[in-house]
Symmetry: C2
Subunit: 225 residues, 2 copies
C-alpha cells in the first residue's frame, strides 16, 4: 500500500500505523474472503478493482466526468438529458424521457431545464439521480431508455472483463462484489450485466455488498497489525 500523507493529516494520524487507500479496496475487503476477488461500483461514478491469489492488483475506469466514468449514474443521467434534447430538437427519436425527466426534476419546460443545467449549484449527484428516472422509464417500455441502460451495462461488462483478464481469472473461480445505486435498476441493467458475465466467466460468484465498508477497513487494519 502506497501511503500518501500531506502535512495536515500528519498532525492527526501517525503515518507509521495508518493505511490510506481507495474506497474500492475497503469495499472489496468487506464483501469477499475469496483470494480471487473483484469489486465493481456503479454509483455516481463507476470503477472496478480486483486482487488475485498472487496478490496482483488491477483497477480500471472511475476517471470522473471529463476523463470518463462509463457505466455510472452520472453517465446515464447525461446521456438521458441529451436524448431529451435530441428529441426536442427533432435530431433524435421521441422518448418518454421528455416527460419523465422534467416531472421527476420538478421542472416545467425546456427553458427551465436549460437554466437548471447551467445553475452553478448543479452537482454530479443530481445528474446521477436521473438514472433512477431512466430505469423507471425503461420499465414502461421506452426504447431509448432501454438501449441507454443496456449500453452502460455493456460498459461495465468491459470494465469487469478487463480486470478479469489482467488478473488471469478468466477460467478461475472468483467473487464479484458489487455495490451502488445503479444496481437497483434490475431488468435492463443488473440482469443484462449478470447474464453476460455468467456466459463469459463460469467461475464467477456474485456478492452484493451487504456489510458496511467500515467493516472492510477494520479487516484490512487487523491484517496489517
Amino acid at each position: 500500500h502506497k501511503i500518501i500523507f500531506n502535512d495536515e493529516i500528519k498532525d492527526h494520524l501517525n503515518p507509521a500505523s495508518t493505511i490510506i487507500c481507495n474506497d474500492t479496496r475497503i469495499g472489496l475487503a468487506a464483501g469477499s474472503d475469496n483470494k480471487n476477488r473483484i469489486m465493481v461500483i456503479c454509483g455516481t461514478g463507476s470503477n472496478c478493482f480486483g486482487i488475485n491469489e498472487s496478490g496482483e492488483e488491477a483497477k480500471v475506469n472511475g476517471w470522473d466526468y471529463i476523463l470518463g466514468d462509463e457505466g455510472s449514474g452520472y453517465e446515464i443521467g447525461i446521456k438521458a438529458l441529451r436524448a431529451l434534447m435530441r428529441a426536442y430538437d427533432g435530431r433524435g427519436k421521441n422518448t418518454l424521457l421528455s416527460k419523465t425527466i422534467l416531472k421527476d426534476l420538478g421542472i416545467k419546460n425546456i427553458e427551465e431545464l436549460i437554466k437548471w443545467a447551467h445553475d452553478v449549484s448543479l452537482t454530479k449527484d443530481k445528474i446521477s439521480e436521473i438514472a433512477i428516472t431512466v430505469c423507471r422509464t425503461a420499465e414502461k417500455g421506452d426504447k431509448i431508455s432501454i438501449e441507454l441502460l443496456k449500453e452502460e451495462a455493456r460498459e461495465v461488462l468491459i470494465s469487469i472483463s478487463t480486470v478479469v483478464n489482467k488478473l488471469g481469472l478468466v477460467n478461475k473461480e472468483f467473487d464479484l462484489v458489487f455495490v451502488g445505486s445503479v444496481f437497483k435498476c434490475e431488468k435492463y441493467f443488473k440482469s443484462v450485466l449478470m447474464k453476460e458475465l455468467k456466459e463469459k466467466f463460469a467461475g464467477i460468484n456474485f456478492k452484493p455488498l451487504i456489510k458496511k465498508p467500515v467493516e472492510g477497513a477494520i479487516k484490512l487494519a487487523i491484517q496489517n497489525i
Copy 2:
C-alpha cells in the same frame, strides 16, 4: 426578433432601436444573401440555425456541455481524452492519441493528465483545442481518431438535415454558411460532412464565412431601420 433587456443594458442602449440576437443570426446575415439560408458553427460549441424564404426559422443543438454540443470541438476533445483513458486501462484499443495528446498539452504522464483534468482553471476552450490534435493524429492514420471525427461529422450532418427538413428545403436551392475551428480539419471532418450533404441535398451551396460577423450585424441593423 424577441428583445430581452435587463436593467443594466437599458442604461446604455435604447430598447426601441436595438436588436439583441444569437451570434448565429449575425453570422448568417454576414455569410449569405440567399432567401433560403442555414448557418452551422463547429467551434468550441456547435449549433445550426436557418431561415427560409417564408421567414420561418429553425435552430438545433448548441446546448452546452451538459445538455449536448454534438459535433463541437469540446465534444471531440472529451471523446479523445476518454479514448486515451480506455487505452490506458486496457478497456479500449491502443491509439496514437495516447502520445499526441500528452505531447500537445505539454504533459508528462497520466498522473499529470488526471491533475490537469481536475484543475479548477480548466476551460471548455482548452478541451476544445484537443480537436486539433485529433485531426493531426487522424491524418497519421490513427483509426480511433478517424472514427471519432467521422462520428462527429455525422452528428453535424444530423443537425443540418434536421434544420433543412424543418424549413422545407430538401429539394430547394439554399446556402450553407459554415464557420468554426473544427472545419480546419479537412480530410476526416469537413470533406466527410460535405460529401454526405451533397448527396442528400442537390441544391446546397457551401459558403465559408469569410466576412466578419459584425458585417452581418450592420446588415441586420440597416434592414431594420
